[in-house]
Symmetry: C2
Subunit: 361 residues, 2 copies
């Protein structure tokens, strides 16, 4: 026998029923299936409910229907701008569709990821799991229990949204090639990251196609520090431009270059990825848009659509493209002589005629 009610002032369905002179079933139906009732009945119930400030108790509804009205968003690191932006898009969309959202930060560990997924399960109708660090088997176990959509991991059979930055990275390499750079570096992230893998591949292929020398460096944890620390190696290998796995690393590279008195883009060109902090660095970063907010929004839509209808389409690719700002420019003189085409100094060359190019500051 429970004697404690959460909020003593909160009217219950029984109070409304008594006040309106109808049964509790009728009050319930006034909100969930008004079409089954006489309009007059609905009107009366609603009037009373309004007056009393009645709002159906979601916890009771959840227990009765098995639908929680909640989703959970699991991310490796809230503080990473990519995930902040993603979360923002996701929670806004969930709210719009009437869902409340739990937040889980896994602190980049697979253990916490697993625990959070387990703990939250009863309280949610489904999960969106961004950039999972867990192994595939465990993810599948969770996906079997609860609807789950994954972001940026390509798991056959699990609904997923993948941000394809392949084209964007190819555009970026082409931009650098057109600017006359002959040796470029790619400063990557963890090998287990799907996003990193596809970026590496795109850079390698395009560099090969354009006859550029490519030096590849890997940061285990993509961070500002890692970027700054990579500068020495990048410079030593003779590169005049670098692409980074994300904007945070690119920003680190910028700091490291500045430490050595090199200026961007005069002495060195830089390209990042994500387009969250890129507009706020100085100089503003040329970057590939990772459509963070859209990825979050899309994942939530897939999840919620799938809850009421058929399981959602499995593989959803959204494509981020190059945004040219001020961190890229012609290769320094001795290299510029060799350049393939000669773009005007003040205007970036066409990257890929078939693709739209947004340029913003």
């Amino acid at each position: 026998m429970a004697r404690r009610q959460a909020d003593p002032d909160r009217p219950t369905i029984s109070r409304v029923a008594a006040e309106a002179g109808v049964s509790r079933a009728t009050v319930s139906r006034s909100f969930t299936h008004p079409d089954l009732l006489l309009p007059a009945t609905v009107a009366k119930v609603r009037e009373v409910a309004e007056r009393l400030g009645y709002v159906p108790n979601q916890v009771a509804q959840a227990l009765s229907t098995g639908k929680a009205g909640n989703i959970a968003l699991i991310v490796p690191d809230i503080a990473n701008p990519f995930f902040s932006a993603l979360m923002r898009g996701a929670q806004a969309q969930a709210y719009r569709r009437g869902y409340a959202t739990f937040l889980g930060d896994t602190d980049e560990t697979e253990e916490l990821e697993d625990l959070l997924l387990g703990k939250l399960a009863v309280q949610v109708d489904g999960f969106v799991l961004a950039s999972p660090r867990q192994d595939e088997k465990r993810i599948r176990v969770h996906a079997a229990r609860r609807p789950l959509v994954v972001i940026n991991r390509d798991l056959e059979g699990i609904p997923r949204v993948l941000v394809d930055t392949t084209v964007g990275f190819a555009q970026a390499v082409n931009l650098l090639a057109d600017y006359g750079h002959r040796t470029i570096a790619y400063v990557g992230g963890p090998k287990s990251s799907w996003s990193n893998q596809q970026r590496v591949r795109a850079v390698e292929e395009t560099a090969a196609a354009r006859g550029l020398k490519l030096v590849r460096l890997d940061a285990v944890r993509p961070s500002h520090e890692a970027g700054r620390d990579a500068v020495e190696k990048v410079l030593r290998c003779g590169a005049t431009a670098a692409l980074a796995v994300d904007d945070v690393v690119a920003q680190g590279l910028m700091a490291g270059l500045a430490d050595r008195g090199l200026s961007v883009p005069a002495d060195f060109s830089l390209v990042g990825c994500d387009n969250v902090i890129a507009a706020t660095t100085y100089p503003p970063l040329t970057t590939i848009d990772a459509l963070c907010a859209e990825a979050g929004r899309t994942a939530v839509d897939l999840l919620i659509d799938g809850l009421s209808a058929e399981p959602p389409s499995e593989r959803n690719v959204i494509r981020g493209e190059l945004t040219i700002r001020a961190s890229t420019g012609p290769a320094p003189e001795r290299h510029a002589a060799k350049k393939h085409r000669s773009p005007a100094k003040s205007e970036p060359p066409d990257v890929s005629p078939s693709l739209p190019n947004r340029t913003e500051r």
Copy 2:
């Protein structure tokens, strides 16, 4: 009659009871009040539960006990680094203490803030409300309904954690004065912001005490853009240094100065506040630490402590101090001549002997 169970595989208390040959009450007590039972009974029940993978359904528990085991965190903008860091600290602490956390982004509007507080109320045991944009009256209504702790708003009678950056801003102004700056600017945030108000005051008082000329500019919405746009006015008034309401605005100022070919700190000194992105700008920002993570953690502790015991202590002040990095330095020559004390060029002067000074890169 509910026919749909959320997770068909999930064992219920009845299944465990049957399997263990005890009543449902005994199963329940094995988890919530094992001290009331024979150790042997508890052991048997736990063994069966373990085997079946039984875990009490939190939703049912919530309905029965009125305790949700959840809290909600309401912030104006997830994507703002200050709030990201705060959320990170808060959700980690909530998790540690066994609570799951809902996330609400109000998009800087008071309407959404009000709606989220209302929608989430049934599902949580309490709220932490960061930098509320709502008027005091509405906040008090919500606080009367549900335990609520506020961050960075000084509301008598409501438990709150206030990050006091007053001392830090005073230290910063002293630093600039010691460096020989005679005219400084403060680029502020919204007038309704408690944090902004206390910062303005600290800057005004210290500037007056040191005989500095202070120019005050206000950005309605503290953003990178706002910072960049403020540069012209700042320069026009003859200031050689500026303090910004936060690091984002300071970073905007840096970009605007760079656009005009001015370098930091040689031509102009800059101080921010928050210490989240400050270490990643170039040059790294001298800033006041706003202890974001600690504020989040403390708020959650207050809230959860207050749930089981007496209402928590009301006014909890934590103090953030100055962190000197590379964006501050001696005033440019014509001013330097007038300077009050003559600190060595390579080392920042003592800010305030009574206070510890952390210097990091």
